[in-house]
Assembly symmetry: D2
Homo-oligomer: 367 residues x 4
């Protein structure tokens, strides 16, 4: 009989994660891979899922940004997404979602992130159904055929990959949809993992100056290490008008050319539009969950002739781009260094609660 | 002593326009032109100005979309904006705004529509200051040096030019900032002058199908004449869910590729985003005045990975583009035919009140 | 034993096509379809293939733009590329090429038209290898699993589909890569099938005026029916300087905003660049085969700050776009009417020689 | 009587520059400025002008990239192009060209670099006509009203400004017209001043890797200091096939995403297209003079579905962007350090001959 695999399961919204055991798959089908999870990131989205702010069916093994080692490979799975050979023991990561390749969005609109049949590890699979192991907060995960698996380059630590997490791929997708122009002055709202990732991509994409608005101080220190030219501590500027004045002092009297929302707090959107000079671009990167409505004046969009963009998730090619970025300069060190807290699998709920306070750097589980 | 020139003046918000007399300018300075107004359009923005929804100083001679005949030309003004010779008696129109050409927006950002010193005829000049005659609801207007004046081609009736009005130039600017892609399925919210202008530009820019949502029936008839493939009468679908279903039946089960807001009613923005397929473009063209806030969920932008754009006003080159468009196909006939009501200058207030009910086609004053 | 299927085969470059018989496939594998060809277009590229100007392995059954009726469907093939049900007897067309979906170009660069493993019906398959039937100049064709098959809408005649041929999908791809801007004045070099297709797409994409340069007169008549505002007969302007003057008289003293090369003759490129105003776009659509070098001055690109673009082939979504375009307005009638010559399969060589003179409209084989 | 001002004059093509004396202007008109030149760069274009490869009227005081100190300011000239106060003694640089602001290109096409009336200091003004002093190889230059003058920030040495020269503004314009995408692998052909400037802009615009192909070794050393990830010495790879193999080894087996031509040698264009992966962008930045024709196959553009772009000169806002770039990071030090040779005004011809050998870094005259 098969061994048991432990996993942390979200069984009810806003209730502690439960540690459950599932049978290890007896066989591995064509194209599938069984991976021993070595490190699993806790994404802010996991908190939103836990709060019930996205429509998912429970129970779910959370965890959609992970790395591990291949334990078993199904027939036919001989190469990773980039065409590199794949073998048992290889260190790998993978795109969290699989698109169908056949629907309206995949075929006609080339937007697989909005695939009508899209399923994401750690989000869309109910743990109560075999083969159960479809999330990263677990000792092992069974990857479906068609998963975009990436062998991690030898000189790139898994800490860097999971430290960057889905924030980096999401930022790469967002800034691909709405590119920076050379010389743009950029403001980033939020200095958590998404903000740091956006900062990295903006830094590598032609921003002439980047101002990060966030806190607390140790996150601002990270932001400076990630290349922010200036940081504004929201604790020192508790009033919105003060923060605006501080931002304009760093950008121009008229505002920034490009503002990136990375907080997930709906109310900051209006403040972010204030940071925009007329004609600026505002990228809504952080509103991944439905956290409620705000009072909003659409006249602002017309009068300031703004451009607003959103982007959802990422495609496998953004994982490739992320691995490439992490292989350059100081990014691996920076993102690995962004991991400030580590928890054992058994303490997954404690880890999640820690993230919920939004004040740490990146938090991970090491099953 | 100089003759008197009559004009309709907005002296107090929400109060009737007053007919006042101003002295005719005795001389015409270098680069200036005195024009006898033959036709002046009443723009929806004039209603918003009357309501006090944009920050202007009173009294103002309203009217920013007009045509007339040159009465006097100042020294040095020998050619129009396109380099054509200009003479007394020529029929002309002009760009409503003048930009400084020197500020942050004019120079560094190439966005003269957001010029820090921008002044618009019929909006930004107080009638109490000489030379007073800076609006179109008047027998004559004195154009400043630097105004982009266009001689109207002989075969293009002034009715077509003013029937198109600033709506057409604004739509050209908006769709330049956020271009359609060939084959896009377009929904237009609103079938007033702005909606019809957007319809014309979308029709000429590669839309494969255009659905106009509006009313009343005679406006929908105009929309069909302007090339709408389908019209949805909001009186027949009083519920938002019904309208959405009617739109999806005409676009795709997922919505339209491009939606253009042309109503000026803040609440329609949320409905317009419903009409968008994921990844669609939403152009906010109608929110020219501050008509208040709505309850809005920014998560929508992220989840549907939308693009929203605004555009403010237009540049002289959009007047050129409008005159070119009007010279092609049926557009002159259509836009001239869109004028449904004409009033004498003395009835300017009555004309404005008529527009305020938003149900006619284009309304004009013929001083 | 299986029946014989007749096909026209290119066995040696510049030699007459041979009519050969191949065994009809006994079974149809998973995802495959056997289609009875009803109409097969002769593309200019077929002439270039016949001349040996593209690197292919012989023998080949030519024909990459065809339509027919489904005779047999392999297991699992129940829907067409757009998700519509597919049944024996349905009238269909298909994308001529299959991309691997896994290589550098397919995955990382999203350019499946340059797939490293791309294979095209009528071009890339040697007829000497089973299952032989991989080209359109044949009574039947066996479509591989993964072919993008499209059920042709009932009200769209096959003549329109093949009359448009790969020229229309190629033009759609080209103008997608280098979009027109609303109001662009366009010159099209060449009035053969590619020129007419480019004309159609330009007409539907926002061109304000289209000038077609070509001949002979009946092709220019077709061009006007396709919406050209002006045509220039090269027989009336035998000198390059004369043609340039004629073009500038129709565009502007400085040239056109967008010029599309649709002739396949290398020398016309220099002439086309003369037609460009400074800053114009030049789309090289017709140089599908290697027809040799020209003397060229790269200083022109810098001095006129031009943009040049090429595009190769098309993707399945362009077949969808073509079918949509053909369903609108007069396009089906126009493209069907562009077919000027029809030949029986046995006269395939005669048909090819006819196209070789470049003077007809579209020529087809009706097996 | 006025003092004499010495200048180096191109009187006949391919003949030594002559040192001539011109009268110092007695008065300075409205908007004009008299500037004492402190440093004047010798641009590769100056060599092409000397060779007669661009159509200009002689005699000409060469020099279109210079910096100096304001000696006299005409009435009304109180602020520089960015709105900063301007006073006698201020250190300034200026855009080399003035556009009319009224022609087809300035108004309708927003391409002032192709203004029909454009005039450039050091190129378009004949020295035989008063006020003579319209070039940088001189003790003083008289700037026309309308010149875009920039006060140089105090902490930015003139060496950096002229070391960057028009190469940097030209590169900024070129990469604005054809933007890099984040992560692009870039090859730069040429390691002279234009190549180094392109390298700087590519580095600041999102290139993930930059390969510089050029020589001799000290220029390659500069390229590495400017941020090239790899350099290929053309002396070590004398054969084109060898160079191609060396480039592909550094980019991908299929080539680079973006290639920038910075040599001015027509023949390198074909080699540069070899460096392009299919679908790549090729920016022709260096072909500023007419240096003759090449044998070229336009089929390459179609088959590889390339994009080629050119750009001519720059606008005042690119001078602003250049000054901003020079104020960041190591760029001022790098560009100032790129100046390898300095000559007195009296040795201007010797300086020009030195540049003609294309092997130094930046060469300047210090009048």
């Amino acid at each position: 009989m098969s061994a048991a695999v432990r996993a942390a399961v979200l069984e009810r919204f806003e209730q502690p994660l439960a540690i459950r055991e599932f049978p290890e798959p007896e066989g591995v089908g064509p194209g599938e891979a069984l991976v021993r999870v070595e490190i699993a990131g806790i994404c802010g989205t996991d908190v939103h899922l836990w709060l019930g702010q996205l429509p998912i069916a429970l129970p779910v093994i959370l965890g959609h940004e992970s790395a591990g080692r291949v334990e078993r490979l199904g027939p036919g799975l001989e190469r990773d997404w980039r065409g590199q050979t794949l073998a048992v023991g290889d260190r790998v990561t993978w795109a969290s979602s699989i698109s169908c390749g056949q629907c309206y969005y995949c075929r006609l609109k080339r937007q697989p992130t909005r695939c009508l049949e899209r399923k994401a590890y750690g989000i869309s699979y109910t743990a109560s159904e075999a083969p159960h192991l479809r999330g990263g907060y677990a000792e092992k995960i069974l990857l479906r055929a068609g998963t975009a698996i990436f062998r991690i380059p030898d000189n790139l630590p898994s800490d860097a990959v999971v430290g960057a997490g889905c924030a980096l791929t999401t930022a790469l997708h967002g800034l691909e949809r709405a590119p920076l122009q050379h010389g743009d002055i950029v403001v980033i709202q939020g200095t958590g993992p998404v903000g740091l990732a956006a900062l990295a991509v903006a830094r590598e994409s032609g921003a002439s100056k980047i101002v990060a608005v966030g806190g607390p101080p140790h996150r601002l220190q990270l932001a400076r290490d990630f290349g922010a030219d200036a940081t504004i501590d929201i604790a020192l500027y508790p009033e919105r008008a003060e923060r605006l004045a501080a931002v304009l002092a760093e950008t121009s009297p008229y505002g920034a050319d490009y503002v990136i929302e990375c907080t997930g707090i709906p109310e900051v959107v209006n403040e972010g539009l204030d940071y925009c000079r007329d004609g600026a671009h505002y990228l809504v990167l952080g509103q991944y969950a439905n956290a409620g409505n705000i009072s909003f004046n659409p006249h602002t969009i017309t009068r300031k002739q703004l451009r607003l963009s959103g982007s959802w998730g990422f495609e496998p090619r953004h994982v490739h781009a992320a691995l490439e970025l992490l292989s350059r300069g100081q990014w691996a060190r920076r993102f690995a260094g962004g991991i400030t807290h580590r928890f054992a699998l058994g303490d997954a709920d404690q880890a999640l609660q820690h993230v919920r306070h939004w004040s740490g750097g990146k938090t991970v589980i090491t099953p």
